[in-house]
């Protein structure tokens, strides 16, 4: 009997040691999960020779293609008869709409875990690093036992032509306190064996400021890129 009890305790200890905080998290329940959309508008790095044709050549190619459809309808150009006006295609714009609708019902847990800003928009040039102070806040509004655990991470790498999510670092600190000495890269959930990073644990309410530091590789083309910073609370 004692041996059986010993084995159970030993197995539990091994489970906790092997899984660490993740194992503990699984013993708790996920209570809420929210996401802050991070939208990055990348302006291209200054032009450098990359082996391809220079930008002006690309522009000329596009122009030539643009006039091709009209040229196809012309005869040899000697003494043109202009019927009047400019020789271009006359297009109208087209517009259509769809309705999006929803019924909103109350959520008693809506204030358990929340942000001050559903979306962060960053405009930055490729090949640069920049920091954004307190880009958003995350609040856990739980003041009674048991203790809560807050986990974070990115849902995925930046979409579009894609660049790594770990290029986005965070400095997460209690609002009103000093930032940490350094920022640490976000973990990317699917790249981390579908595990989040344990950010904080407490038994009182807390609001965290999140400074973001983004490094965009110079090879990233201009465009819009997006990911989600996901926050999950367990207790």
């Amino acid at each position: 009997m004692n041996l059986r009890r010993y084995c159970v305790v030993l197995a539990f200890a091994a489970f906790v040691v092997a899984g660490g905080s993740e194992a503990l998290a699984t013993l708790q329940q996920q209570r809420d999960q929210i996401a802050v959309n991070v939208l990055v508008n990348v302006t291209p790095a200054p032009v450098g020779y990359n082996g391809a044709g220079p930008r002006i050549a690309l522009g000329m190619t596009m122009r030539a293609r643009g006039s091709a459809i009209f040229d196809a309808f012309q005869t040899s150009d000697q003494t043109p008869i202009r019927i009047g006006g400019r020789t271009h295609l006359a297009f109208q714009t087209a517009q259509s709409a769809l309705r999006v609708q929803a019924m909103v019902s109350p959520n008693p847990n809506a204030t358990l875990l929340y942000y001050n800003n559903p979306q962060v928009v960053i405009n930055q040039q490729a090949g640069t690093t920049a920091s954004y102070s307190c880009a958003y806040t995350i609040t856990v509004d739980k003041t009674i036992s048991p203790a809560w655990n807050l986990y974070d991470g990115l849902s995925n790498d930046f979409s579009g032509m894609s660049f790594p999510g770990k290029d986005l670092a965070n400095n997460t600190y209690l609002q009103g306190a000093h930032p940490n000495p350094t920022a640490t890269p976000f973990i990317v959930y699917p790249d981390n064996n579908n595990n989040w990073y344990k950010r904080a644990s407490a038994t009182t309410a807390a609001t965290y400021c999140i400074d973001l530091t983004l490094t965009i590789p110079s090879s990233v083309p201009g465009g819009a890129y997006s990911t989600n910073a996901v926050y999950t609370i367990y207790f």
């Binding site: 939208l39 204030t111 800003n117």
Partner: protein, 220 residues
């Protein structure tokens, strides 16, 4: 009287033209003509079976459960009942089909015509609440946490200026926003899911919240 004057004028002109010598000559003549621009845009909500909203979660996805306002290949994108602070994915929300004979291609703009409104005093912002993201024609691996791009409230002139549940508005632009898509081919299809992040402070209402998303296609 005026009719007689017109008749006489035309008669004199015809006689003069008939006695004038025709100029003769040889040489190439350039003939050119206008081609009528064709731009056809078809917008189809709920474009595939399995359309509808699912709560945002990782792992196995729930079955979509659209509201009564949605129907296959039409109607509205109805997120059904959502909770304050909740986040949702709407699968197969919109299919945009564009055909033009402009070899330059075209630009697509998409914006909210207003904020979400319940038709009365309650509203919440469309910016930061409603997002779009690429989907597939017949398959969809997105979740409510897949990266999306925001629909913003337009700065164009909306007609009618007051949102109407049953009537699609139009937007007139003095300046276009950033394009949603830039096509360099004359024909393209775009498939979109939507995401809805309900603000935690969105007022609870007994009426349905709605917003019209307006797409505009402009040849390049």
């Amino acid at each position: 009287m005026r009719g007689w004057i017109g008749f006489c004028t035309l008669t004199v002109a015809a006689i003069l033209l008939s006695v004038m010598p025709a100029s003769a000559g040889a040489g190439p003549v350039k003939v050119q003509w206008y081609v009528t621009g064709i731009l056809k845009f078809t917008l189809t909500p709920n474009y595939n079976t399995g359309y509808g909203p699912v709560p945002a979660k990782f792992g196995t996805q729930p079955t979509p459960n659209p509201g009564a306002g949605a129907c296959l290949l039409g109607c509205a994108d109805d997120f059904n009942t959502v909770v304050q602070g909740g986040q949702y994915l709407y699968k197969y929300a919109a299919h945009l089909h564009v055909v033009t004979n402009d070899a330059n291609g075209f630009l697509v703009y998409g914006e909210g015509s207003a904020d979400f409104s319940d038709g009365g005093a309650n509203s919440f912002p469309v910016s930061g609440s409603l997002y779009y993201l690429p989907s597939g024609a017949t398959s969809d691996s997105n979740t409510g946490f897949s990266p999306g791009y925001p629909f913003n409230k337009t700065s164009g002139t909306v007609n009618p200026s007051t949102p109407l549940f049953g009537s699609a508005p139009t937007i007139t632009y003095m300046t276009y926003p950033a394009p949603m898509f830039t096509a360099t081919a004359p024909t393209a299809d775009y498939y979109q899911d939507y995401e809805l992040k309900v603000p935690a402070n969105a007022p609870v209402s007994s009426s349905e919240y709605f917003v019209w998303v307006v797409y505009t296609v402009v040849p390049q």
